[in-house]
């Protein structure tokens, strides 16, 4: 783990007398390599190193009785600061039905997450309505309907010839009639560089008037995470990020990158394929995961 590596490095440095700026620079190289291997964005890593260096050259480390421990503490603190200092909750305060839109790249886990959110919100006493607005992917409507059936949550009966905008309009009507307070809209995966599809997303948003626009991003996403998140943020204004497949061994550096560049709070994480596998995002846990 990085923490162990840094502690070792400082032990060796202590044995050699005073800690110098050169020592700090060399140690920061280790931090940088570790972050890049954890998929943290290149520029974000660079800025992070600058911030840590500024503090590391101060009395806090240089005059400490245990500089290694102080250094590690700074790295950890700076990370938690970047990730958002506490779990950010879903904000569903809106006239019912409150709409939540799930957006993101192909295969990131949107449809599965929609099902998970439905179960999660119902456990919190809300009455969710699943809305299959992906009429592009083969059997996407079936997929969400099956998930809805597994947890006995009502699901809008999307017809394959409908377009996403009219689906949202009709679904809102149906939600009102059935007295459901939260609409979870599953959209088709799309590339941030597919202009017509990004325009479609704007139209869907204009119709749905969502109180939450959540980017569903794969925890194993590499350097491209920032480009993707920025584009989606520009197009529809993200209110939150859900990081999926965190049950694997991907370090999830994309989370740090996306949060620090777009400011989008990370709200939830996906921890498996079952519909129960979702929980709030805890910055402390993510920081430990990346530093490990």
């Amino acid at each position: 783990s990085l923490t162990e590596k840094l502690t070792e490095t400082f032990k060796k440095l202590r044995g050699q007398g005073r800690i110098t700026e050169r020592n700090i620079d060399d140690t920061l190289k280790e931090v940088r390599a570790h972050f890049l291997e954890a998929d943290v964005n290149y520029k974000v890593t660079k800025d992070f190193i600058v911030a840590v260096k500024a503090r590391a050259l101060g009395a806090e480390v240089m005059q400490s009785l245990n500089p290694g421990q102080q250094f590690v503490k700074i790295v950890h603190q700076e990370m938690v600061r970047l990730l958002g200092e506490e779990a950010a909750p879903l904000n569903l305060a809106a006239a019912p039905p409150a709409a939540v839109m799930l957006v993101g790249l192909q295969g990131s886990g949107k449809t599965t997450t929609a099902g998970k959110l439905a179960l999660y919100l119902r456990k919190q006493g809300r009455s969710p309505y699943l809305v299959p607005a992906d009429v592009q992917r083969p059997a996407a409507i079936d997929q969400l309907k099956i998930l809805a059936g597994q947890i006995q949550v009502p699901v809008f009966d999307t017809r394959p010839e409908q377009n996403p905008v009219e689906i949202c309009r009709e679904a809102r009507q149906a939600a009102r009639v059935q007295g459901l307070d939260t609409m979870l809209i599953d959209t088709a995966g799309r590339l941030h560089v597919d202009a017509p599809l990004m325009e479609e997303l704007k139209r869907i948003k204009a119709e749905a008037k969502p109180v939450e626009v959540l980017l569903v991003a794969d925890a194993m996403t590499g350097q491209d995470a920032v480009t993707v998140a920025e584009a989606f943020h520009q197009a529809v204004g993200l209110t939150g990020l859900i990081l999926t497949k965190l049950d694997g061994d991907a370090r999830g550096g994309a989370a740090l990158s996306i949060k620090s560049v777009t400011g989008t709070p990370i709200k939830l994480v996906g921890l498996g394929e079952k519909l129960e596998a979702i929980e709030p995002f805890y910055p402390e846990r993510m920081a430990s995961r990346i530093l490990d």
Binding site: A140, M220, Q223, V228, D249
Partner: protein, 279 residues
């Protein structure tokens, strides 16, 4: 991103390293390439940004050219079997549809096996691709044993003289030991029912994946033996640079790339083109 004729300096070297890292080559591979570049600059007196980029392209091509080995589907006196696998959401099912159409256009007879019996609507999804490709899909009910589906597909192909069987499996994280065991069992059953099969074990990787792709390749390769890679979603902005580290470490042929969601969006991997898009 670098104007022609620009001279070599520390800023240029940093920009080049950034280009490599942001293409997901990984810090280790990027540093090795930059070290080689540094030596080349001294040795050959390279002067311009263009010279340096040319060097990097050559160095990367040296790694990728040997794994440019397109998929060959020979005519045998038995079904030729492809097993597709990989982590969740990488594009396995879609890629199988694309491969099926390609083979049918080449006049081959193809059968698909819907061995993802776990995920909601996975079978329906593959059936639609089967219809689009004009090929039949062997399926059981949801929740059935994936090995049983593979078994049935092999038997059907053998008895009907179908030339190619492509087996779709459920996405699975390489860290899930029980799911890796399930995959090994599918391979065992296939080999038992059709000696010589599976002829191709295709790992489908998502180009947007970062360093974790290396762990995926390693674990799947050690568990089941990968004979080919398909890199999907290269129509996005991710460069898929991690295949360089994977190629260097495992030498697994890169067969195909996915460049879109339509059935014709499949291309043979060409190392030169890939490197051009990278640097």
């Amino acid at each position: 991103l670098l104007p022609k004729g620009r001279q070599v300096d520390a800023a240029l070297l940093e920009e080049l390293e950034e280009a490599l890292v942001t293409s997901d080559l990984g810090v280790k591979t990027a540093v090795e390439l930059m070290t080689g570049l540094g030596a080349a600059v001294k040795r050959e007196g390279l002067e311009s940004a263009e010279d340096l980029k040319a060097y990097l392209r050559r160095a990367i091509l040296e790694i990728l050219q040997p794994v440019e080995k397109p998929l060959e589907v020979p005519r045998l006196d038995r079904p030729w079997v492809l097993l597709a696998l990989g982590v969740n959401g990488t594009g396995k099912t879609t890629t199988i549809g694309k491969i099926a159409l390609r083979l049918r256009q080449q006049g081959r007879s193809v059968l698909l096996a819907a061995a993802d019996t776990f995920r909601a609507a996975a079978i329906q999804q593959l059936e639609i691709w089967g219809q689009r490709a004009g090929v039949e899909v062997i399926k059981h009910q949801e929740g059935a044993d994936p090995s049983a589906v593979a078994f049935d597909a092999i038997k059907a192909a053998q008895s009907r003289g179908v030339e190619v069987v492509i087996i779709d499996t459920a996405g699975r994280l390489h860290t899930r030991v029980n799911l890796m065991e399930e995959l090994k069992k599918v391979k065992r059953i296939v080999a038992r029912e059709q000696p010589g099969a599976p002829d191709e074990v295709l790992l489908v990787l998502d180009a947007t994946t970062g360093q974790n792709a290396l762990a995926q390749a390693k674990t799947f390769h050690e568990a089941i033996g990968i004979t080919g890679l398909c890199l999907t979603k290269l129509d996005g902005t991710a460069k898929g640079g991690i295949v360089i580290a994977i190629s260097r470490e495992f030498g697994i042929p890169i067969r195909l790339i996915g460049v879109g969601e339509q059935i014709e969006d499949l291309q043979t991997f060409r190392a030169e083109e890939f490197v051009r898009a990278l640097i």
